[in-house]
């Protein structure tokens, strides 16, 4: 009983000390609150895969009603912003200079061939450097063209060019707005940064300033020190997390279809993993210089690229897919996207939370093993 009381007193002592330090040092608070706001705003508005007003060059070699009606279809589409050219060479040059992203080329015999029932191909040139954007652009062009063609066929009383139409139902995100899936993903990325950064420098700083040596000769146990350090930063990090979620819901209108408490539970789990990774970095590095360098390398880019936040994990080569399993953000991104857009889909949430829990145990053991109460 007495020993328990003593342990609680020591633990509370460390927690209190860390909290005081957090409150005194504006940089910790700014990591937890200013960074999410800044990043979420920047990304929430800055990151979008939805193209609109794509600059499109239209070359009409022989102006007539048919070519004008096709051009008009593009003009009315919200996706395009047409620029007109008289010769294909001019349009190609504009494409080279990146003034336009795609070209529609109606040759001088387009209308006559079409009306005569002869082959009347429409030339399309797309800048394929950004292949994803090129795919999207091509899809949009196809859509506009098909709509025009259906209309044209009806007017001409000819057969429908499309016996089978594509009837698409997109669940969870009917408008296919990329912000809906990017914002929850961003929350995961930002939390990775915050969690690891908050703690990456904490222990390294104590080593550098010599306070570690004084702590180590007190009766404080390793477990008490680790838990005592984690709790205040955990609370701080969760504050930042809630704040980001609030921004996502109210600022970016991302619907939260799942349970709020499940979201909190999953976030808590993830936050602990991120904090432990930071702690591990600072224990290994022992000085802020190396801790900072490691944090820069192992946190942001892997979370950005390997988490499935942007790039589909199923399409990666097998070996990379295996590697993504050690990126905790991977699990959190899956949980967040599901909880926000789909709802409480238990198999998805439980499997990913289970993985996070395993990581938690793994990193805690590693941190435990690496921190000893000795100077050697």
């Amino acid at each position: 009983m007495k020993a328990q009381h003593a342990a609680r007193m020591r633990l509370l002592g460390v927690i209190r000390k860390e909290s005081w330090q957090i409150l005194r040092d504006p940089s910790s608070i700014s990591i937890a609150f200013v960074m999410p706001v800044l990043l979420l705003f920047l990304f929430g508005y800055g990151v979008s895969l939805d193209a609109s007003d794509i600059p499109l060059g239209i070359v009409i070699e022989q102006p007539d009603t048919l070519s004008h009606s096709l051009a008009g279809s593009f003009e009315r589409s919200e996706f395009f912003k047409p620029y007109y050219f008289n010769a294909i060479q001019e349009a190609q040059q504009a494409l080279d200079e990146r003034k336009i992203d795609a070209v529609i080329w109606l040759r001088n015999n387009f209308s006559s061939s079409l009306l005569a029932g002869q082959e009347a191909p429409i030339g399309v040139i797309i800048n394929g450097v950004d292949s994803n954007q090129a795919n999207i652009t091509q899809g949009y062009i196809q859509g506009v063209w098909l709509a025009w063609l259906t209309h044209f066929a009806e007017v001409q009383g000819q057969a429908l060019p499309m016996p089978v139409a594509l009837d698409q139902r997109v669940w969870f995100n009917a408008a296919l707005s990329s912000r809906m899936f990017l914002v929850p993903g961003l929350v995961a990325i930002i939390m990775t940064l915050i969690g690891s950064l908050l703690t990456a420098l904490v222990v390294a700083r104590e080593w550098e300033r010599g306070t570690m040596e004084a702590l180590m000769v007190t009766p404080l146990r390793i477990s008490e020190m680790l838990v005592g350090k984690l709790i205040p930063y955990f609370i701080l990090g969760m504050g930042g997390m809630l704040f980001s979620v609030a921004l996502a819901i109210w600022q970016f209108d991302v619907p939260l279809r799942g349970s709020f408490w499940l979201l909190i539970l999953a976030s808590a789990l993830f936050m602990l993993v991120a904090l432990l990774i930071g702690l591990l970095i600072s224990i290994i590095a022992k000085n802020q210089f190396v801790a900072g360098q490691i944090a820069i390398i192992v946190t942001f880019l892997p979370a950005f690229i390997l988490s499935g936040f942007l790039f589909d994990i199923n399409s990666m080569p097998m070996i990379i897919q295996v590697i993504t399993h050690i990126v905790p953000a991977r699990y959190f991104v899956a949980i967040l996207q599901t909880l926000f857009l789909a709802g409480d889909v238990w198999p998805v949430v439980l499997a990913n939370m289970g993985a996070l829990f395993l990581m938690l145990i793994f990193f805690f053991t590693l941190v435990w093993k690496k921190s000893r109460k000795r100077l050697e």
Binding site: M35, L42, L49, A51, L95, I126, N132, A134, A165, N173
Partner: protein, 370 residues
């Protein structure tokens, strides 16, 4: 300006960076590993999309359509289902990305010359994946339709879209992403080398020792910038060689134009790194500063999402991001075969950023003392 002084400083900076084993490893190994890992990982192309098929039609036409789906490398049919109730769990649990749902009178309708449809239910949690998958489907369907019309001998309207993709003929997203990763890693390396260099010396007290020598701030500045630029140049060269040899990205433009871009970019990122480092009082602040620059710089550069899709205000912000220009140069030279003339508008903003940030950090050396 004395050349010998600058050299002495640069040599010292190299030694300080590379003598420590941990920091040597941190600077050299991760960029190469990350290039390989990320380049394989980062792709928008989808293959083996898991698909479930719910086919209620007994006719041959629906089978033909489904076998076209099966034949495509993009799709992988993992399940054929027999009840409508099976659809929701498959999509909810992310077992499949999409379910193809064909009506019982699909073949009959087609043979009667009536128009019919193929219903697709997609998981929209990742809207980009969903849209890409839909484009693949649409192309398959278009082919199927044309084929059917020709077999029926219906003339129809004889117009097709004859699509050509310039610069990246097969629309491989790797061609787009890998040059981007090169830019990212170059940024990370130059920030790693420079962003802590002044803050670290301030904390250790060696910066004072440096300031009482006859070395001028300009010389300190150049001496401190050289390692970032040299290491950045070497690493980007290695990365570019890997990119050409391993990922077979075509180098179509002028290599000189590429290196001019690299040098200018390194100058500007080194300038920003040194600026962060001289504003910071402690290393902790310098690390924070590096993050606060790096993360938005990557997001706003157009690396993963087009700048044109951003709101106008954010687009204005991207003009401050040196990575933006560098990305255009690298992609331009590699894929589009650009040369100096076309890239002029990318060169000068980076030069401007370098000059401003370097001048400001040089000024801070002497005017930020405590």
């Amino acid at each position: 300006m004395k050349f010998e002084l600058i050299m002495a400083l640069a040599i010292k900076e190299f030694l300080a960076l590379l003598r420590d084993k941990r920091s040597r490893i941190v600077i050299i190994i991760p960029p190469i590993v990350q290039l390989l890992m990320f380049s394989f990982a980062a792709t928008y192309d989808l293959n083996n999309i898991p698909v479930a098929v719910y086919n209620r039609d007994a006719g041959s036409l629906s089978h033909e359509l489904i076998s076209r789906l099966e034949g495509s490398p993009n799709f992988h049919i993992i399940k054929r289902i027999h009840h409508e109730a099976e659809i929701a769990p498959l999509i909810d649990n992310r077992a499949v990305l999409l379910v193809v749902n064909i009506d019982s009178h699909f073949s009959a309708d087609m043979r009667r010359g009536q128009s019919t449809s193929m219903q697709v239910i997609l998981d929209g949690r990742n809207s980009n994946t969903a849209m890409t998958a839909m484009n693949y489907l649409r192309t398959i369907l278009l082919d199927f339709n044309r084929n059917w019309l020709e077999k029926q001998g219906q003339a129809g309207v004889k117009t097709v879209l004859d699509v050509r993709n310039w610069y990246n003929e097969n629309l491989q997203s790797r061609w787009f992403i890998v040059p981007g990763i090169v830019c990212l890693l170059t940024l990370v390396v130059s920030l790693l080398v420079t962003s802590l260099s002044v803050a670290r010396e301030r904390e250790a007290g060696t910066f004072d020792q440096l300031l009482v020598t006859p070395i001028r701030p300009v010389e300190i500045l150049i001496g401190k910038a050289i390692p970032g630029i040299v290491i950045g140049l070497l690493e980007s060269t290695v990365i570019i060689i890997i990119m050409i040899m391993l990922f077979k990205i075509p180098l179509r433009g002028d290599i000189g134009a590429l290196y001019l871009g690299i040098v200018l970019f390194l100058l500007s990122s080194t300038g920003v790194g040194l600026m962060i480092s001289s504003i910071a009082v402690t290393q902790q602040q310098a690390i924070l500063g590096a993050f606060l620059f790096m993360v938005p710089a990557v997001i706003l550069s157009g690396f993963s999402t087009p700048i044109a899709n951003m709101p106008e205000v954010v687009q204005w912000l991207t003009y401050l991001d040196p990575l933006r220009y560098f990305l255009i140069i690298v992609r331009g030279v590699f894929l589009e075969g650009d040369s100096y003339g076309l890239l002029f508008n990318q060169y000068w903003p980076m030069l401007l950023i370098s000059i401003v940030s370097l001048a400001f950090s040089g000024w801070l050396f002497r005017h930020r003392m405590y």
